[in-house]
Point group: C2
Amino acid sequence: MQVTLAVDVMGGDHGPVVTVPAVLRVLAEKPSLQCLLVGDEAAVYPLLSSLSPATKSRITVVHTSEFVTMDDKVAVALRNKKQSSMRLAVNAVHDGRADACVSAGNTGALMAISRFVLKTHPGIERPAIMTALPTQTGHVHMLDLGANVDSEPEHLLQFAQMGSLVAEALDGHAFPRVGLLNIGEEEIKGNDLIKQTHELLTRSSLNYIGYVEGDGVFRGEAEVVVCDGFVGNIALKSSEGVARMIAGMIKEQINRNWFTKLVGALAWPIWQGLRREMDPGRYNGASLVGLRGIVVKSHGSADVDSYANALRVAILEVEKDVPGVIADRLSVSAASSAESLS
Amino acid sequence: MQVTLAVDVMGGDHGPVVTVPAVLRVLAEKPSLQCLLVGDEAAVYPLLSSLSPATKSRITVVHTSEFVTMDDKVAVALRNKKQSSMRLAVNAVHDGRADACVSAGNTGALMAISRFVLKTHPGIERPAIMTALPTQTGHVHMLDLGANVDSEPEHLLQFAQMGSLVAEALDGHAFPRVGLLNIGEEEIKGNDLIKQTHELLTRSSLNYIGYVEGDGVFRGEAEVVVCDGFVGNIALKSSEGVARMIAGMIKEQINRNWFTKLVGALAWPIWQGLRREMDPGRYNGASLVGLRGIVVKSHGSADVDSYANALRVAILEVEKDVPGVIADRLSVSAASSAESLS
C-alpha cells in the first residue's frame, strides 16, 4: 500500500537533524513510502545530499521559513503563522497530498491547527490524545492524555468509543476491554465525572469492564483505558518520571564500586532486553484521534529511533484507515442507537 | 521521649501475623516505646508468648472481637462498629491513652472514624492523606492521595500549608519548596481548580515554586507537591504500577538463559541497593493530616518490614509534635492574615 507522510521536520527539540534521518530510516524500511519534508530547505537539503536518486525521488521538500516554537501561544500559532511547517504539514493531509502528518512540535498548537484544518468527525465534540503504553502483558491504549482538561461524561464516552475502534483496528483485537481510570477507595470511589461516565459506559455496547486503577493500567487489565486529559497526562508523566528515576538508580548502583561496575558490564544483555521492552521510543507517537485525518505527535525530545517510531505509528494508522473506521463505525452506532430509541 | 502507639493489629490483608511482629521489632529499636495492641486477644497472645517480662510490660493488649473489613461501607464501619479494633485505636488517641494510632485497614473507614473522633484543626475543612515518595534527589511529600475527590482551591491551599509544616517538622527543612501538580501543555495548562489554586498559592506566604509536572515530582523539583485526591491517587498508583512492571521485566530478563541467570545472581549487590532505594516498605506509612491527633495508614498488603516503617512514621510524628505544629502555625498564620485584612 502506497503511503505518503507529511513530516513537520522543524518540530521538536532537535529539528531536522533528528527528523530527517528518522524519515530516511523509515523510507528504507518501507519501499512504498513517500514523504513530504516540510521545513527550511537550507537545513534539510544538506541531510539529503548522499541519497541515491531512487530514494530522492520519494522525497519532496516543501520549503517554508516559518515555524511554530514550543513557547508560541496556541492563538499565535493558529492565526499568525499560516505558513508554519506545522500548518503546511496538516494542510497537506487536508488537501489529500499526504495520508497523515507527523510533528514533534508544540502539542497545544498541533491540536488547535489540526482541529481547525481537518475538523472532527460528526458526533465527536473533542479530539483526544491517545498513545500505547507498555504493560505487564503487552500494551494498553490510553486516552485522553492532555487535550481536554475539563471533560464531560459524554466526552469520555466518545473517547472510549474511539479508543475501542482504534485498538481493534491497530491490534486486530476484536472487542477490546475498555476500563475507566479511577481510584480504589470504597465509598469515596470516584468523583462525579467518573460516576456519570460509568453509567454511560455500562449502557454502551462497548466491552466495558468497569474501573481500572493506576496500577491496574500497567498490569494490563484492559486494552483501552479512558480518562480526562488532566488525569491522563499526570498519570503518563508520573509513570515516565518513575521509569527514569529507576533507570538512574540502576546506573548509580552499577557505579558503586569496581565489582558492581564489572557485573554491570557483564549484565549487558539484561539491560539491552530491558531497554527493548520499555524503550520510550518504542512507544513514541501519540495519535490525535477524532479528527478527519491522521495526525501523530512525537515527543519533543525524541531521538532518531523514537521519531522513526512515530512515523511508523502514522503509517500503520494509514494502512488500517483509522479515521475511516471511526467515521463508519461511529455513524453506524449513532444510527442504531437512534433506531433503538425510536 | 516516651511514646505510646495504639495499633489496630487486625487491619490489613494479614492481620496480627504481620502487625504484631512489626510492633516487636520497633519496640526493640526504641526502648522508650509502649504499645496498645488493639484486637482479638486469642490471635495476639500466642505471638507474645516468647517475650521477656521487660518487653511484655511495654505492651497492653486491648481486646475486642469486632473488626472493620476491607469491604465494609464507611457508614457501617462508623455507625455500627463502635467496638472495632480500628475505632478503639483511634479512641485511645482521643482519650490520651496513646500518642498516635496506626492501622492498615480500610482507608475510607479510617478517615471517617478519625475525623469523627478526633475532629480537624480549626480552619481545616478536610483532612488529607500525605506520604513521602522517593525522588532522584531524596524524597517528596505528596498530598492529597485520595481522601478528597472534589477539592476546592481553598482545600488545596490548606493542604499546601499543612504539607509545608509537616515537611519542615519531619525533615528539618526550613521553608520547603511547594509545587502544584499540573500538566505541562501551554495554554491548555490546567483546569479551573488548578488556575484558582495557583492564584491562592502565589499570594500565600509559602515557598511556592509554581507548577510541577508528573515527571517533575520524581525529579525532586519540590519538597511538597499538592493535588486533588483523585489525581494524587492516580499518580501514586500509576507510579507503583510502573515500578512493579519494571521489577517484573528485570526478573524476566534475568531468567532468559543460563548466562543472564548467572550474571543476575552475581549482580546481587546491585539488586540489593536498588531494593533499598526504592523499597515501597521504606515509604510505607501515610499520614492523615489536619486531624487533632496522629493517625498513620499502612498499606493493606504491608509485610513486617513495611508495617514497621508505618510505626516509625507515627513515632516520628509524635516526637515532632506534628498536630501541635499545624495547630500553632495555622492559627498564627490565620491571625496574621486577619490582621493584615483589618
